[in-house]
């Protein structure tokens, strides 16, 4: 069972017919960008930052910024055209025994609108030219309006493998880590 706050669980149980906000956090060496289908409130975005599990594997000697501010948030963009689909537990073959023996690691493909920015240049193309998207990480999260960052549920994590750039849209292909 995924980790979720009580409030998030309540939201999930009671939101039939409503629209959840799916957020794609793209982290690269340059910083983080959040992509979504429609503009998400700041309260669901946070200011960046990776989650660090304090299980003894980190030494808090000043070299690590915990939580917010650990990563630069470069922008929030409601440009997602197709949020894609993926599977957990996918397997090949006719028998469910194959769930154990023929495991598949699911990928994710998302399409992002590449409409011109204020200067008339395709906006994603501008980013792709300067930011190292390939090899970056995509964290898929789901939130509900009216709540805050701690109630956003993490769904899956992928690594960007390939990017196809067209004048009207950009396709980002990811694979399971």
């Amino acid at each position: 069972m995924k980790r979720a706050t009580d409030r998030a669980v309540k939201d999930i149980a009671g939101h039939e017919g409503k629209t959840a906000l799916v957020l794609y956090h793209l982290s690269t060496a340059g910083g983080k960008r959040v992509f979504c289908g429609k503009q998400a409130p700041d309260s669901l975005i946070g200011q960046g930052g990776r989650i660090h599990f304090l299980d003894g594997s980190r030494i808090l000697d000043g070299s690590l910024l915990l939580g917010e501010g650990a990563e630069v948030l470069l922008g929030v963009h409601d440009w997602i055209e197709d949020g894609g689909r993926f599977s957990l537990g996918a397997f090949q073959g006719p028998s469910i025994l194959e769930a154990f023996r023929e495991k598949e690691l699911s990928g994710l493909t998302i399409a992002i609108n590449n409409a011109p920015d204020m200067d008339g240049h395709p906006r994603m193309s501008r980013m792709l030219a300067t930011e190292p998207f390939v090899g970056g990480r995509v964290d898929v999260r789901v939130g509900f309006s009216g709540q805050n960052i701690s109630d956003v549920l993490s769904i899956a994590s992928f690594t960007i493998r390939r990017i196809t750039e067209r004048i009207e849209s950009v396709t980002i292909e990811c694979e399971g880590n």
């Binding site: 959840a20 993926f86 957990l88 006719p94 469910i96 154990f100 495991k103 899956a156 994590s157 880590n177």
Partner: protein
């Protein structure tokens, strides 16, 4: 920030090769990574793998393992077992300053090809690493270069406990370049285990434990509309006999042991459905070396699949099962379906096999294996119930609506 382009499960891991030493016989030979007890089953004439000759000077030096080992080394040549006096064994030696390996330096030249058995990698405390979950941890942290941060340690501990309770002991050799994901599938799959990448990008492993008493559901699913649920029962899901090959012999890529599954077959299932074996039969248990472990795996597969499995597919267009993951046990209700006792299928317990997300349509699809178990009610004996034989205390299906 760590470089996200390195240390990936699906990237190929380059195994160490003999080329790192000054005078190897063949530079392309890999330095084997060995786990578990390869002295089982016992061998009299030949070992189960061929260690590379990493130094041709003198009578030759062989790399028994590309790391420190527990011990138990026996070497063989064309004449059979080699006397221990004929070589000097080092279970941990920083050979030519190129890292710690286990070596056998011959003082009398062997005849023909050298093969070996041994006991492989050990813990910091000196114990032999045999638990499949502990092997996964050691591979991740000590071989493939991942950090503890990349592993869900709680899930790992649970898997290790399950494996220990079931008596699982793994043994095998990694001798080629490989993607960690492939090794994880092969290793865990042999023990009805599997892995996922959790929402934080960490490796989460799971070894299916006993079912009758461990499957208290983590969530009660809401009741979905009739049009969004279908169930499938297929004869292909039945497995009532598991022929197995185990104890791999690496030089000729064969298996030393075979069991036809006769002792663990389910005859009543076979009378109903015919003899049904796994899709790829015999099952090749690459990481199993012991008869007792093979028998446990065989009997657990038969115990789990000797009846046709009802697989329910539930389409959820509202993401109301968002927290659910594979291997979770959930309670679900489909009142228009019936149980074996012809009761409406209410509060039935299922194991989540697969979760498909369609983020574009904001929907998800769950595949759930019906375990046959269900939530039971616990009535108060306050006089409202009369115990006159029409009531099964603690075994009545709970028909309350929880979600």
């Amino acid at each position: 920030m760590p470089d996200p382009t390195t240390d990936r499960l699906s990237d190929s891991f380059q195994i160490g090769r003999a080329s790192r030493y000054a005078a190897p016989e063949f530079e392309d030979q890999s330095l084997p990574i060995i786990y578990g007890d390869l002295t089982v089953p016992s061998r009299e004439k030949a070992g189960v793998y061929a260690p590379p000759k990493i130094d041709t000077a003198g009578d030759g030096v062989y790399c028994v393992a590309g790391h420190e080992i527990w011990g138990g080394v026996v070497l063989f040549d064309d004449d059979g077992r080699i006397e221990a006096d004929n070589y000097t064994l080092e279970v941990a030696q920083n050979y030519q300053g190129r890292g710690v390996i286990a070596t056998a330096a011959f003082t009398t030249p062997p005849k023909g090809r050298v093969t070996a058995v041994c006991k492989g990698r050990k813990t910091a405390a000196g114990g032999l690493i045999e638990n499949p979950a502990e092997i996964v941890h050691d591979l991740m942290a000590s071989v493939w270069g991942f950090s503890e941060q990349d592993v869900d340690m709680q899930a790992l501990a649970r898997a290790a406990t399950s494996a220990k309770a079931l008596g699982y002991r793994a043994g095998g050799i990694i001798m080629d370049d490989h993607a960690p994901a492939d090794v994880l599938t092969a290793l865990l799959g042999d023990f009805l285990g599997r892995y996922e990448i959790d929402p934080f990008g960490r490796l989460r492993i799971h070894i299916a434990g006993g079912e009758s008493f461990m499957n208290s559901p983590q969530k009660v699913l809401p009741r979905f509309g009739q049009s969004h649920i279908e169930a499938e029962i297929a004869r292909d899901t039945v497995i009532n006999q598991v022929p197995a090959l185990y104890a791999r012999n690496y030089p000729d890529a064969r298996y030393i042991k075979h069991d036809d599954g006769g002792t663990t077959q389910n005859r009543s299932s076979q009378r109903l459905y015919g003899v049904r074996r796994p899709p790829e039969s015999p099952l090749r248990l690459e990481w199993v070396r012991r008869e007792s472990v093979a028998a446990t795996v065989q009997s657990r597969i038969v115990g789990r699949y000797h009846e046709p499995t009802r697989i329910l597919t539930i389409e959820d267009g509202s993401l109301r099962a968002l927290e659910v993951e594979p291997d979770d046990y959930v309670a679900f209700s489909v009142p228009w379906m019936r149980s074996k006792k012809l009761e409406p299928l209410v509060n039935q317990i299922g194991e989540v096999i697969e979760v498909n997300y369609d983020l574009g349509e904001q929907g998800m699809e769950l595949k759930i294996r019906d375990t046959g178990f269900f939530l039971t009610s616990s009535p108060l004996l306050d006089g409202a119930k009369i115990l006159e034989g029409d009531w099964l205390l603690g075994a009545e299906r709970d028909v309350a609506t929880y979600a």
